[in-house]
């Protein structure tokens, strides 16, 4: 599968998808190009609003200008904080960010997922993430005694 390397300053273009906005000629984002971006690894279906946000972010994160990148990161984090993004969607974007190797995108979304895990109880995490408990009762009991000191409350 063609991979789009996002961590370069000037994003490399996969020859199979020549219409990568204008990022080959200049690393500055051109607003009029944002909506017509085709990326080598297509962003999975995450809903129209989030898709636009992610696309925009990917474009800006390839910029040379650190201020642009920082502003884009802050914007993304604000968006994540204020919008209700479902768990599945968050994880889909995390996986996508990992595939395209966009560190900032990965950081932002992973931190959000981590926030959802922090300070929760085991059953809550299972509930939220839809994970089934596949331990036997004996194993669970043993685990409970593994780190009792970490769970004294």
């Amino acid at each position: 599968m063609a991979e789009f390397n996002e961590t370069d300053q000037t994003p490399t273009v996969d020859p199979k998808t020549p219409n990568l906005g204008d990022s080959t000629t200049s690393s500055q984002p051109k607003p009029e190009q944002i909506t017509t971006i085709d990326v080598a690894v297509p962003i999975p279906d995450v809903g129209p609003q989030l898709q636009v946000v992610v696309e925009e972010f990917i474009l800006k994160s390839g910029s040379d200008d650190e201020e642009v990148r920082t502003a884009a990161t802050n914007e993304l984090r604000d968006f994540i904080e204020h919008e209700e993004i479902g768990i599945t969607t968050l994880l889909v974007v995390v996986k996508y960010a990992h595939e395209v190797k966009n560190v900032d995108l990965l950081d932002a979304f992973c931190e959000r997922v981590a926030d959802l895990i922090k300070d929760k109880k085991v059953v809550e995490v299972r509930e939220i993430f839809g994970i089934v408990n596949d331990f036997t009762p004996g194993e669970e009991q043993a685990l409970r005694y593994e780190h009792p000191w970490a769970f004294e409350d």
Binding site: E84, C110, V113, I117, K120, W149
Partner: protein, 418 residues
């Protein structure tokens, strides 16, 4: 007034004020006691009786906008709290009724407030503009989640991961693990087998170990050694903030099995002695396997002498005295600065003792290189780090100094002076 728990939708985690208030509306049933709330705090508020349609605005109007004169938009905050309390009543309703004597609505709210405040445990952060300390912040969403669980349905998108097939964690879940702290990692171990295996065996997750609240008080030498062993010899950064049970011997054992350690933060570990540190460092740095520890934060040791200081500098290989400015901030007291300095203690230019020395950030200060000293010689603003000698300052209730500029930026807790 008895509670009238009507059937109601699950309290969503992210919601506008109105929605939250509407939950409370239903919980509290008929509103008989509005007028009492109206004057309870001596604030004149308009009671807007808009009838059925605008029921969900009533409680907001009734609550005082700024009872403590803090000059903030507390209506948002109180609405959030009342909504939260309404939810907690679902869970703890019986308990509350027994506890509270005065059944007036407002009193119940605030008595409940105290009750839950004192019993708040681990909660997740609430996504509104609450001004409370993070730990308390975490109360809110936890409740909404538990309400979801208790009521057996999850309308809240957050509570369900519908596309997970087979009950296994999503592939991307493990990517988020590296963003978790020690305590959460240990918790997630218990979620399912695959996660347990991943967390125990992925040494990358344990390459940096940060021990802070609340585990710091409980961690012992044995536990520390077990955790550091998970890094399989790849531990790079060990941060032990205020761990009173860690001894010199425990640290020695960790160092023996982790030759790649380069950063060691041990502020507030009261059982570690300066001699013990020096001995451990000598043994560690002299071993050919190790690159040696390059950065150490002690948080200031009592009884550290000039001789100790020189030995430390030698061991850390401090060659140039490149000066990196270090600014005082109350946060630095709990979590040391992770900058490039090799050692945090220095010789105070004024008293010649070995302490943490701070620079002055203020532009208008006397020549900056003269405004360098330990916090005892030059008291500083806890917020911006500026020296408080030549400027207006105030000692706050928590016995820290705040300069006039930082004072102005605080939410006002009292009547303004003049």
């Amino acid at each position: 007034m008895t509670l009238n728990f009507t059937q109601r939708p699950i309290f969503p985690a992210h919601t506008s004020e109105d929605n939250m208030v509407s939950q409370l509306r239903t919980v509290n049933g008929e509103k008989g006691g509005h007028e009492e709330v109206h004057d309870r705090f001596g604030y004149r508020r308009e009671i807007v009786d808009k009838g059925e349609k605008d029921k969900n605005k009533d409680i907001v109007d009734l609550l005082p906008s700024d009872p403590f004169g803090m000059d903030i938009d507390i209506s948002t905050t109180f609405t959030a709290i009342t909504g939260w309390l309404g939810d907690l009543e679902l869970e703890y309703g019986d308990h509350m009724r027994n506890k509270v004597v005065n059944h007036k609505e407002d009193y119940r709210l605030f008595a409940g407030f105290n009750f839950f405040w004192n019993n708040a445990m681990k909660f997740q952060s609430f996504p509104t503009n609450l001004m409370y300390h993070d730990q308390h912040n975490k109360g809110f969403d936890r409740v909404s989640e538990s309400v979801g669980t208790n009521c057996g349905e999850s309308v809240n998108e957050f509570a369900v991961c519908p596309d997970v097939i087979g009950g296994d964690p999503h592939d991307a879940f493990v990517l988020a693990l590296s963003y978790l702290g020690t305590k959460d990692l240990l918790m997630v171990e218990r979620v399912c087998r695959s996660l347990c295996y991943t967390i125990r065996n992925d040494s990358l997750l344990w390459r940096n170990l940060y021990v802070d609240q609340p585990l710091n008080e409980r961690i012992t030498d044995d536990i520390l050694v077990r955790l550091t062993n998970r890094a399989e010899g790849n531990l790079r950064f060990l941060s032990l903030i205020k761990c009173p049970k860690i001894t010199d011997d425990g640290l020695r054992r960790v160092l023996e099995t982790n030759p790649k350690l380069t950063k060691l933060f041990i502020p507030g570990c009261t059982r570690l002695s300066i001699e013990g540190i020096l001995n451990n460092l000598k043994a560690f740095n002299s071993s050919t396997e190790t690159a040696g520890i390059k950065h150490i934060r002690t948080g200031g040791f009592y009884g550290i002498t000039l001789d100790h200081y020189e030995q430390l500098n030698n061991l850390l290989g401090v060659q140039n005295n490149k000066h990196i400015p270090n600014y005082y901030h109350r946060a630095n007291l709990h979590a040391p600065c992770d900058d490039d300095r090799a050692l945090d203690v220095e010789i105070c230019p004024r008293c010649q003792n070995l302490r943490l020395v701070y620079d002055c950030p203020a532009g208008g200060c006397r020549p900056k290189d003269q405004c360098r000293a330990c916090i005892i010689c030059i008291p500083r603003c806890a917020e911006c780090g500026r020296c408080v000698h030549n400027s207006e300052y105030e000692e706050t209730f928590s016995l820290e100094y705040l300069c006039s500029d930082c004072l102005k930026q605080l939410p006002r807790c009292q009547e303004p002076h003049g």
